[in-house]
Amino acid sequence: MTDKVRVATATLCGCFGCHMSLLDIDERILELVQLVEFDRSPITDIKTVGDCDIGLIEGGVANAENVEVLRDFRKHCKVLVAIGACAVNGGIPAMRNAFELRECLDESYINGIGVANPAIPNDPEIPLLLNKVHPIHEVVNIDHFLPGCPPSADAIWTFLTGLIEGRPVSFPYKQIHYD
């Protein structure tokens, strides 16, 4: 039990598609759980990240909590991996960088179609948004980058099994061929 590799995962500002692509390994998940033990992850109920061998991060950095979670992962994970377009370069959410944050908020909460009581949410319980959406390597050091929107299940499988077994990772062409 204890010789299993500990893996933690998190989604920051992303769409969850990379986690879904991880689950797209289908029945290979039965093999995976023989090799790894999941720590904090959206698929477990562990809320705080413990010491881990591998941390997988989906999504970019868009608010204050993303920064905190990312730093916590860096502190606890020996190897930290940026998975997917948003973690690698900000992805689609970074399209808001072309606008002022205020304009984006106004569009949703003030000038939106059908808004009954225009107001911008500002309670201390909701994290403060950053002016821009950042790729995660702008905040902490990242060991590996796995691109794709999302990376295919086969690409994730090739990468993870290689990493766990400690051998260099090499992808067949099809796994790095995008839309």
């Binding site: 989604t11 500002c13 992303g14 969850f16 598609g17 986690h19 879904m20 692509s21 689950l23 797209d24 289908d26 029945e27 039965l30 759980v33 992850s41 959206p42 698929i43 477990t44 109920d45 562990i46 809320k47 705080t48 999504g59 950095v61 868009a62 608010n63 204050a64 909590e65 993303n66 920064v67 905190e68 959410p93 399209m95 808001r96 072309a98 304009e103 984006c104 908020l105 569009e107 949703s108 939106g112 179609i113 059908g114 808004v115 009954a116 009581n117 107001a119 911008i120 309670d123 201390p124 319980e125 909701i126 403060l128 948004l129 950053l130 905040v139 929107c149 999302p150 295919s152 299940a153």
Partner: protein, 497 residues
């Protein structure tokens, strides 16, 4: 209809308990509970802490990008956004009627995704609560625990989801963020080899669909009174409905019923949705609070998704699902079934329906037809609505003469359930947590109530415990890019270079 636990009179004197992040839900959110010195709960809120601003940043983009761009809202049900945007762009390119091949390929894609999404939600995320109990050990209460203890159930769930994903891959090009639907139609049909591949396993898949309904029924009836009462709230319900009142998740009019099953509106043309639905803003959540305008914000909120759809429809067009619907409706005793945990039951009936509907479509020669596209004159306004796995999904775009988007409005499925999820956790907080020292298993009950809705809170996870007092964002050269400071008063200040 709203409970009194939304806002405490004197929050500063109360003890704050936070569940953060919510887990085994698709996407992210957190819950805060405020207790007084006698452990009575005075306030319970589900906060959605993410904001991405799609409605703004798609402005300036050409309309044909919408189906592939906006689906990046969500990696769990991208097909819903892909198809809702495609339906809106159909209107933009003047398509009033898709070719039979285009409509059936899109339906196949949609049934495939509803199948995979429902399987994922039930087997991968919720079955640990239902199989092991809400108070099972936190390290065991997950899909790995299910694989170890109930390998047959786990494998069935994994393979049901895989089948749905394969239907998506073959109709949309890839499993997540595909490209199959385009304005006015689709870009591919299925060939013989692909149809044979899907037909090979469909008999087994329909059987597992039946098993899934029987499994949830067995669990539900084991503690019927408890499951009927847990997180139960009386609400209005809204869903899309076919022209004859049949269950339809791809196209139709809007139907809303009140808590007793009386009609609020029926067969409403969804392009007029903004005459019926409005959205309120609350300062403690980035997710808005929709309501039926005629009933007002206080009484007009409603539920969407499997529970609403199965309650609202007159019948299913497929025999096995229809048989299960009748059994389901019996549980309501003449009223709509209001139990929140009955979402799980309704969801499995829908999963079964999707397996049957896929089986039917695979026998239809139109799915290998060659007429894929049908376009007319460019229009300025397009509205696309369908039933995503989690409920009614609205996409609304306006474009200029050059086809560039200049206005957009999206009401995503889970947003419709915002008030209902908040009311459900308040019911659980008041009934099961009030006056008690809050332990992990008790807090999991709050999450069980939220999970019933299968919320897709999407994006942005958050930290645990206290918010830091200061956050400095630096680049690799240690230069400060952004700095945030939170004072004890909750006041927040930002300085950046």
């Amino acid at each position: 209809m709203s409970s009194n636990l939304e806002t405490a009179d004197n929050p500063k004197k109360l003890e704050r308990v936070v569940i953060n992040p919510l887990t085994r839900v698709e996407g992210h959110g957190k819950v805060t509970l405020l207790q007084d010195e006698n452990l009575h709960i005075k306030q319970a809120r589900l906060h959605i802490v993410e904001f991405r601003g799609f409605e703004k940043f798609i402005q300036g983009r050409p309309y044909w990008e919408l189906p592939v761009l906006v689906q990046r809202l969500c990696g769990i049900c991208p097909v819903s956004h892909h198809l809702a945007a495609a339906k809106a762009t159909d209107m933009l390119v003047g398509t009033t009627q898709l070719t039979p091949t285009a409509e059936k390929i899109r339906r196949l894609m949609h049934y495939g995704q509803t199948l995979q999404s429902h399987a994922l939600h039930f087997f991968h995320l919720c079955s640990p609560d239902l199989l092991f109990g809400f108070d099972d050990d936190v390290r065991h209460r997950n899909i790995v625990g299910v694989i170890e203890d109930n390998p047959d159930i786990a494998k069935q769930g994994v393979l049901l989801r895989k089948y749905g994903q394969e239907v998506i891959r073959l109709t949309a090009g890839k499993r997540i963020h595909g490209t199959g639907a385009i304005p006015g139609g689709v870009n591919k049909a299925l060939n013989r080899e692909e149809i044979d591949y899907l037909q090979k396993d469909i008999g087994q898949i329909v059987q597992w669909g039946q098993d899934a309904v029987e499994l949830i029924k067995r669990i539900f009836f084991e503690q019927l009174d408890y499951h009927m009462a847990f997180a139960a709230i009386d609400t209005n319900m809204m869903s899309m409905i076919g022209a004859n009142g049949e269950f339809d998740i791809y196209h139709g009019g809007l139907r809303a019923k009140d808590a007793d099953g009386g009609t609020i509106f029926d067969h409403v043309d969804y392009t007029c949705y903004s005459d019926y639905i409005r959205e309120g803003v609350k300062n403690w959540s980035y997710m808005k609070f929709p309501f039926i305008e005629a009933l007002g914000a206080e009484n007009g909120w409603y539920r969407v998704g499997p529970l609403a759809r199965v309650n609202n429809c007159d019948y299913f067009s497929t025999p096995l699902a229809e048989q299960q619907r009748k059994r389901f409706m019996d549980a309501g005793g003449g009223r709509p079934v209001q139990a929140s945990l009955a979402y799980h039951w309704a969801r499995q009936i829908e999963l079964l329906y999707c397996t049957e509907a896929i089986r039917e479509l695979l026998l239809d020669p139109d799915i290998s037809g060659t007429e894929l596209l049908n376009r007319g004159e460019l229009q300025h306004c397009g509205v696309g609505v369908l039933e995503a796995p989690r409920g009614t999904l609205f996409h609304h775009y306006e474009i200029d003469d050059d086809g560039i988007v200049n206005k957009a409005n999206l009401i995503v499925s889970t947003t419709n359930n915002n008030q209902a999820m908040n009311e459900s956790i308040r019911q659980v907080a008041g009934m099961y947590l009030d006056g008690r020292q809050l332990t992990e298993p008790l807090l999991n009950q709050i999450e069980v109530a939220i999970r019933a809705y299968d919320p897709c809170l999407s994006c942005a996870t958050h930290a645990m415990g206290k918010m830091p007092l200061e956050i400095i964002l630096v680049n690799e050269k240690e230069e400060v890019i952004d700095r945030l400071e939170k004072r004890v008063t909750g006041e927040i200040q930002r300085t950046f270079s």
